[in-house]
């Protein structure tokens, strides 16, 4: 990927994080007022409510989407900070490879966790 494509996806994932994290804030922290997606008695973070949302296909997809968007957005931001310190080209390549491998690994682990609950 060249830098234009990296940056374009940084913007796209930033917007996704804004929307999905915004939803998360409304569902989890305004549960007393809105009560969205919390069918069971009690708080939004109660086991029954968390389990109920995790079994919902739409929610599972948004979890995976938020995970991917947050990972990409955060890791690209960290890469930008490191690149502005003018590392040598070999170190730049090492950073790129490490962040891609690490990011994909974390995405797989997180997606597995989300699907594991969904399939229960």
């Amino acid at each position: 990927m060249n830098e234009t494509s990296y940056w374009t996806w940084h913007i796209i994932t930033g917007l996704l994080v804004l929307i999905l994290l915004g939803m998360h804030m409304l569902i989890m922290h305004l549960d007393g007022i809105l009560g969205w997606f919390s069918p069971a008695e009690g708080e939004a973070v109660s086991w029954d409510n968390v389990f109920s949302r995790s079994k919902h296909v739409g929610f599972t997809l948004t979890y995976v989407l938020l995970l991917g968007a947050a990972l990409y957005h955060g890791l690209y931001g960290l890469r930008t900070i490191l690149f502005e310190l003018s590392p040598p080209v070999r170190l730049q390549k090492f950073i790129n490879v490490t962040f891609w491998v690490g990011g994909v690994f974390l995405f797989i682990v997180g997606t597995y966790g989300s699907l594991a609950i969904f399939k229960q």
Partner: protein, 279 residues
């Protein structure tokens, strides 16, 4: 005559000095300059060199704000010395240093080689597919006033380097292209006579190109010609992203009109009459 215009002020110039051939580190020199209203920082430097210390070094040329040679840090702000009146800044003391983010050749003279190398890297000239015609033009290239307006302000750049000195990304990333080269890349990419966007994007769309700009906008803050390089950089980012998403309108470089046959083209007004006898 207005007595205020006759008044003379004694202003202290604190100037950052450095001669790499003799000095181990920069140091400060103080000079007292007799200043009258209307006197510029540049004129003060001349007074010092003529009457107090002829080793003081700085660049200057036009003394009227069009060549960009005399850029320097004046009381914490980057400005052209010829364009800055002393009493507009202070009536007691001036602190003068070289443009930051560049190595120093001597005193207030920065080494602008990186600036010009980066400028060359973006190919700051009209690029077209008809290479023979670039060298030996066979006709005029048509451009509307609206098309000119889209890039005209970015042509006012005088390559003074103040924007490069003010840029916080330039301070940390020595490989960053910088406001001036990216602005000039955008200037030529937006010119309807040019067809070089796809070559320039390989330079401007790199990891040390336009995307390293974080929009501090200090470049626009210090530009003495109103170029607004921060605006150009954001427009360059926009064009790079639209091109990546295949949403950029592809434009052909404008076609030629007419030829140098001596025949007048319709609609072009006559030139004004000569004001000097042509004999």
């Amino acid at each position: 005559m207005n007595k205020e215009n006759e008044r003379t002020y004694n202003i202290t110039y604190h100037i950052r000095r450095y001669n790499p051939e003799k000095d181990s580190a920069p140091y400060w020199s103080q000079f007292t300059v007799k200043v009258k209203p209307g006197m510029t920082v540049l004129e003060g430097l001349h007074q010092i060199k003529e009457t107090q210390d002829n080793s003081l070094s700085w660049r200057f040329s036009c003394r009227m704000g069009v060549c960009g040679s005399c850029g320097m840090m004046i009381n914490g702000k980057l400005a052209l010395a010829c364009n800055t009146q002393i009493l507009d800044i202070s009536s007691t003391a001036l602190t003068i240093g070289p443009i930051p983010n560049f190595d120093i050749i001597k005193d207030l003279v920065p080494d602008l080689t990186p600036l010009f190398n980066k400028h060359c890297a973006v190919q700051p000239y009209i690029k077209r597919d008809d290479l023979k015609d670039m060298d030996v033009p066979s006709g005029e290239l048509y451009q509307t006033p609206e098309e000119l307006d889209r890039y005209l302000q970015f042509t006012y750049c005088i390559k003074c380097g103040l924007c490069m000195g003010a840029c916080p990304t330039m301070a940390t990333d020595k490989d960053f292209l910088g406001p001036m080269p990216i602005t000039q890349a955008y200037r030529y990419c937006t010119d309807t006579r040019d067809g070089g966007f796809h070559e320039r994007k390989e330079v401007v769309g790199t990891s040390h190109g336009a995307f390293r700009c974080h929009y501090a906008a200090e470049c626009s803050n210090v530009c003495p010609k109103g170029v607004d390089p921060a605006r150009a950089i954001q427009f360059m980012k926009r064009d790079l992203v639209l091109d990546y998403l295949k949403l950029k309108k592809r434009k052909a470089p404008c076609k030629e009109i007419g030829s140098y046959s001596g025949k007048p083209v319709d609609g072009i007004p006559d030139p004004p009459p000569f004001t000097v006898d042509q004999g």
